[in-house]
Symmetry: C2
Subunit: 387 residues, 2 copies
């Protein structure tokens, strides 16, 4: 019997992945680049047990048993087993997988990247896989490959049809730019969700602007972004981050029917950030939006308190927090907005709660194997401990 | 003394103008194509009087005296006078201009195209100008050049630096496709307005996608659109119209800071149209949005009643109409939504009045000189009659 538990991070792309050149192998049409976030506040925790006494493979996700008959999951398992020493007895054992994520519920925050990164990191430890495993996570969920490293990570699109060169690598560790902080503004939204998988497929099929973005705009941006990160040039980093988020949502809008992920509150946050930067006479904050209305703001530690004072002035916290924290994650000292800043911003009087809550976090490390047996999510019989 | 009164139409672009190659001469970076709307429901009416007894040039717009010291207006006047027979005594007379538009107030509907088309058409009649005058209207307000013809009109970007080839021409008259109707859905909006002049300047300066749209995407679309109009192929017309509206707003979003003209209600209208077309299994309705949140829907006459039944089901009319009509323009028979359609749409329960009102109109003719002296807006002394 073997058991492994892993905690894996989410990542936030500053150069976005949008569009596949191969649906099956999940090969993207452009490189992307992300920051891995600390697992302290958002992570997926996965335990995998392999045992000759398990009667069949089983899978629990967030407390519910799931079918393993999922092509993406099967692709990961197949690839891991292909790479395993063929004489290893573990290949004949069944496995139990148990995964939970600690993201606040109803936040609409993508969890598949952390989930597949944790799954693949745990499988790799269990089956003693050596070498790059980001290509394995990629066939589970494209952007999961970026969650296998900490710090700043690039996913190269690769050029081969088999995808062995479509892998992720770290371009700078967490320690390179520890001042970088992240605020995730979780936005209230009532619309139905478009899945990003079908959205990007529709974009590839119908957007006339998409090939130009992928082939011409993004390659230059990736190089400029890497240089900005390596030089810790926040001004350039912020400009490219905002431009690439806007360019990605422009492609979504250029799709037929359009995929609209940002809403009026998202755009009000964009306005707030540009207004804040205009007052500061430089880019002090950058926004980026994924396939949903939530804003992810990048800023240096020195700017966090002041920006939060403005956000709290413009967007009033919900009145029905029920003792939940409004600003979660790294502790901050609540500050009152400066009088001179008040003149430049207008509070949204309509209603409190346009933002559900805020997560204050930082860049973090890659997946971590947890040695303490108490932390395993499964019993030695392969049953979730919380059942 | 000479006096001329003109009624001029608005136009709605189905291939959008966005971006200038020359700010002063108003030369665009791509061709655009529009439908001229009937003056029965939306028009600008302009009277110009030239008289040796006027002490100075004067200008009234919507009842208020304005300065003539406006570079765009002066450019129009200069160009008209340059083309006038130099021996004509009128060149030594002062003029009085009076212009009103009959657009519903607070509709946020662009009036400058109709205004400058009327001004230039009236000036041309007054000064006996022969030949093309669309290039004169263009230096007043770019898209005004398209309002000088009825029916379907193309504005060629031209390639010369002086702009003499950047003019409009009719590609089909109103009589070619009389079944085409237009519904303008006027959307409630609380945000500040970005001017389209500064918006398109920012787009040219900062959007990486814009040159590709202007140089590669639009030229193909213009040809395909002309063919669709000439063949009265509504399906293709609708698809290109929606794609080009989305592509234009994509460029606006790709601008830094982004120019966001559509809001959540605009996007709800987009969803409604795609849902309606999905049920009908073909494009029965096309949306297009200009630099604001209002939707302009193109559809054939046979579809108007049914689409309105769906719109009225999804968006409830405002409760504070104060005896104003909700659906203005061409009369319609109010229809109740069919039961089978109800299943596919969800009423916006939140609040009535997300749409302020609807204008039901049709494609129309170009500017018209009004001979009846009672219709002049000015007295023979050059004073507005309604003062």
């Amino acid at each position: 019997m073997k058991i492994v538990t892993v905690e894996a991070p989410v990542n936030i792309a500053v150069i976005k992945y949008w569009g596949k050149r191969d649906e099956e192998l999940i090969l993207p049409i452009n490189d992307s680049l992300s920051a891995t976030l600390s697992t302290d506040f958002m992570c997926a925790k996965t335990t995998i047990l392999a045992s000759p006494s398990l009667k069949e493979d089983v899978f629990w996700l967030n407390g519910k048993q799931q079918s393993l008959d999922n092509p993406r999951l099967q692709n990961c398992l197949k690839e891991i087993k292909r790479r395993t020493n063929p004489e290893s007895p573990i290949l004949n054992w069944n496995i139990a997988i148990c995964s939970v994520n600690n993201f606040p519920t109803a936040a609409g925050l993508a969890s598949s990247a952390a989930g597949y990164a944790g799954l693949v990191a745990a499988l790799a430890a269990l089956y003693n896989i050596e070498g790059d495993i980001t290509g394995v996570a990629r066939v589970g969920s494209g952007s999961a490959c970026r969650s296998l490293y900490g710090g700043w990570v690039q996913w190269s699109k690769g050029i081969t049809s088999t995808g062995e060169d479509s892998i992720a690598h770290q371009i700078a560790p967490l320690s390179h730019w520890p001042e970088m902080k992240i605020l995730i503004l979780v936005v209230n939204d009532e619309r139905k969700k478009y899945s990003s998988t079908s959205g990007m497929k529709k974009s590839v099929e119908t957007s006339d602007l998409l090939p130009f973005r992928a082939n011409t705009v993004v390659p230059k941006r990736v190089e400029a972004m890497k240089e900005a990160i390596l030089k810790k040039d926040f001004e350039t980093f912020a400009e490219i981050t905002m431009k690439d988020s806007n360019s990605f949502h422009a492609i979504c809008l250029d799709t037929l029917p359009p995929c609209v992920y940002m809403n009026d509150v998202s755009h009000a946050i964009v306005d707030l950030v540009h207004q804040y930067n205009a007052i500061k006479n430089s880019h002090k904050v950058a926004y980026t939006f994924d396939a949903g209305p939530n804003a992810c703001l990048f800023l240096l530690e020195s700017e966090v308190d002041e920006l939060l004072s403005v956000i709290n002035y413009v967007f009033q916290p919900p009145t029905d927090l029920n003792n939940l924290e409004y600003i979660r994650g790294i502790k901050t000292e609540p500050k009152i907005i400066k009088e001179e800043l008040k003149l430049s911003f207008e509070p949204k009087q309509q209603k409190p709660g346009l933002l559900k809550f805020i997560i204050h976090t930082t860049v973090g490390n890659g997946p971590r194997i947890i040695e303490d047996p108490k932390e395993h999510l499964l019993t030695n019989e392969g049953l979730p401990k919380d059942l």
